[in-house]
């Protein structure tokens, strides 16, 4: 019977990954066929590029301890959004005066637009993500230490 053959195929778990990969491939092909998708112009956290700024490509306006203007989903939920974006530590302030080429280093240092998003307005994402990291490493280190 065809049904028993299908059930035998599915019940062997070596085949399930192949089944899932096949489903993904079919869906992706369908996706390409239905393609041109509209790109919404009204995006959250849009970026403008200011090539002359020492914070290029991360210049989003604002001076330290003043609010910069960023487009968040619910401005009423994060009343202090925009302060982190504008903040520069003393080290990064000195670096920005010294050279116009270290924008990435400056923005990765505490403060900057990514810290605003990752810690403040979308902080729960980072909570979940570090928890995933924690769980996966717990599994790895548990298995690693179990025998020894």
């Amino acid at each position: 019977m065809i049904i028993s053959r299908i059930s035998r195929f599915i019940s062997n778990f070596d085949n399930l990954l192949a089944l899932f990969a096949g489903a993904c491939a079919v869906l992706a092909v369908l996706f390409v066929l239905f393609l041109p998708l509209p790109y919404s112009e009204d995006q959250l956290y849009p970026k403008e590029i200011d090539e002359s700024s020492p914070l290029y490509p991360y210049e989003r306006g604002g001076t330290p301890f003043e609010r910069a203007d960023i487009h968040v989903q619910y401005p009423e939920n994060s009343p202090f959004a925009g302060y982190v974006t504008a903040y520069l530590t003393p080290f990064s302030l000195a670096l920005s005066r010294l050279t116009p080429h270290a924008g990435t280093t400056i923005v990765a240092h505490p403060g900057g637009i990514l810290d605003e998003i990752l810690y403040n307005t979308r902080g729960l994402d980072t909570v979940v993500e570090t928890t995933i990291l924690f769980i996966a490493f717990a599994i790895g280190s548990y298995l690693f230490r179990k025998g020894s």
């Binding site: 998708l37 995006q43 982190v84 998003i117 993500e129 995933i132 490493f137």
Partner: protein
């Protein structure tokens, strides 16, 4: 309506199809793991095509989720195949054999990671730490590293609550979160280096 976004999406989706087709035909378990690492690249590329600052904030979690699952699965693979006892030789790169390079390169990487701080800094610093641990052989400060990572996690959660409930103290929140994430990501990734030699 074939704008830049749709063109990029089409090509990236085609490469995802190719990756999934290879996954469909593959039988060997380790090859499967390698191909899954491959199909993660189109998914990150689709996020990158968004092009806003939000895209960057979504790529970082996506990356970290990928490497975390990869580490867990690789350890499950080693356990299930019964390869735990097999020795892993050190890196036989000539630079590593000489005494000075293993100190200078990690020092540079860790220093730059601390300057960067946050997610990116954690990954860069961890790279330096792993390079150091691997070129020196195994370490026994395993518990210490885990404890540091736990404390850093608590610091990061505390700053999350500062941001949400006491937003006027955002400055403390930024500092706590940046340092917490740096130490947490770096410590967790350093465990990769500690596992290298399978200490007996």
């Amino acid at each position: 309506m074939w704008n830049e976004y749709s063109v990029g999406l089409a090509l990236v989706m085609i490469s995802a199809v190719i990756g999934f087709l290879a996954l469909l035909r593959e039988q060997d378990d380790l090859h499967r793991l390698l191909i899954i690492d491959l199909v993660e690249i189109p998914s990150l590329a689709i996020i990158a095509l968004l092009g806003t600052d939000l895209a960057e904030a979504l790529i970082l979690p996506g990356l970290v989720v990928g490497i975390a699952e990869l580490l867990a699965l690789s350890q499950i693979y080693v356990t299930k195949e019964g390869l735990r006892k097999r020795p892993v030789r050190g890196l036989h790169i000539e630079v590593v054999e000489h005494a000075h390079a293993p100190v200078i390169i990690p020092a540079l990487l860790v220093g730059y990671g601390i300057v960067l701080s946050g997610f990116t800094g954690g990954a860069v610093a961890a790279l330096g730490a792993i390079f150091f641990v691997m070129s020196r052989g195994s370490t026994d400060s395993y518990e210490l590293v885990e404890m540091a990572s736990g404390i850093a996690w608590a610091a990061w959660i505390a700053s999350f609550f500062v941001f949400m409930f006491f937003p006027q103290y955002w400055y403390a929140g930024v500092m706590g979160a940046a340092v917490g994430i740096l130490v947490k990501v770096a410590a967790k990734m350093t465990l990769v280096g500690s596992m290298w030699g399978e200490a007996e």
